[in-house]
Symmetry: C2
């Protein structure tokens, strides 16, 4: 069986391979797995036919959702990310490089056979795509999950204002984000929150989300979900994402 090593040059892809398939750090549960488990819980009383994992990165949560859903679509803006999920489906193995100290690196391998999702690989279909301009074919989902996506979109309103059209009646939208708004990703005029409005009032992102989403959804749960991204042998990002769960009216 061939092993793919096409990602050695792309540091961010390697970082996400480790984030989604590697070890846990500081006792914090794998974030893709945790998100998928929560999303499966929140759709227990709903039909669990079709799920969309938007901003799927290297595909771990898509595979985990496939343990409960009949079909899962994984979409990411980066073709390099999506390729990892596809390679796991075909070659079942992906190699990547984990940063050590300075320029030192450790070679690591993801083997699909080591994961509980190994029997569900073919239930997932991966696509490169833009969450702000999704093709019409992506519709009729019982679950749409977008983890750590909204503060990296150039115009998150485009995604949030129309996403209900792609969800079945009673279906669920799961968002997670640490609300790390940055002008390099999102022009300030398009931030959902994290600013002072023209009346001098502070607008939180949760307030902004409610304003957009409550027309078509009911907010059914809010929780904090931590994640850790390993940068080097000794340096990690440790972040508390906020998960908000929205049920389509």
């Amino acid at each position: 069986m061939k092993e793919t090593n096409i990602y050695e040059t792309d540091e961010l892809v390697s970082q996400y391979c480790d984030f989604q398939y590697g070890d846990d750090y500081f006792g914090v549960m794998n974030f893709a797995l945790a998100c998928a488990q929560r999303a499966i819980d929140y759709t227990k009383s709903t039909q669990q036919k079709r799920a969309l994992d938007l901003g799927c990165a290297t595909g771990r949560a898509s595979f985990e959702l496939a343990r409960a859903f009949e079909h899962v679509t994984g979409i990411d803006y980066s073709e390099n990310f999506v390729r990892v999920g596809k390679e796991l489906q075909t070659a079942r193995r992906v190699g990547y490089w984990q940063n050590g100290e300075g320029e030192l690196k450790n070679h690591k391998e993801i083997s699909a056979d080591n994961y509980d999702f190994k029997d569900y690989l073919t239930k997932v279909e991966f696509f490169q795509g833009d969450a702000c301009a999704l093709a019409p074919v992506f519709k009729e989902y019982d679950l749409i999950m977008a983890t750590n996506l909204i503060d990296r979109l150039y115009q998150p309103q485009l995604f949030l204002q129309s996403i209900h059209e792609r969800i079945t009646h009673g279906g669920v939208l799961v968002l997670t984000s640490p609300y790390t708004w940055k002008e390099e990703y999102t022009a300030k005029e398009f931030w959902i929150g994290g600013y002072v409005d023209e009346n001098g009032n502070e607008v939180s992102t949760l307030d902004g989300l409610k304003k957009i989403l409550e027309e078509n959804f009911e907010l059914i749960a809010i929780e904090d979900l931590p994640f850790v991204i390993r940068e080097t042998a000794r340096k990690f990002q440790h972040t508390i994402s906020q998960m908000s769960v929205w049920k389509k009216r």
Copy 2:
């Protein structure tokens, strides 16, 4: 008593005010306090007259060392950092802004009177200075502590090769670093470790430190010390620094 608010525009100074004087996160002890306590422990059997805190940032560890040492010198390359320590000595209060979500910020205040070091403020003298080119006057220290400094120096050899000249016989050098070598701070030819040498062998930073320091010092302890730096309300750097303790022969 006047309150200083001169740091509102300098994001890094505010981040370090929070790091050195603010709350603990994820149950990780304040790093400046932890380093000072360890350094005081490691000099228990030595004279505790003069201590140098090199790369002192906003001065917390300098003040903590003053609880055991008769005199402490705090030196940092950044005048903006050093000014916080000086202001705590004169005005006893410093204001800063803590990042919230997006552009939202919380105003915070450091009041020297809330800390156990409050009676020792005047035992510390702060200076702007370059660790790679220290003035001759900085000498005869029983302890030199350099926390998270060596991987931010443009030529750490200049510091490491001559630092023994400034330490008393039997005195102690305490280094901490996560060894996050980056070419933007240190040209690769000057990295102490974290590279593959001309024979194809991996050189760790600890190996590199031993090679330089063991001529004049005995390595007496190694330990891992974690620290957390708050970037936003939800995003943190969580890092495991390596502390190495060297006793001058």
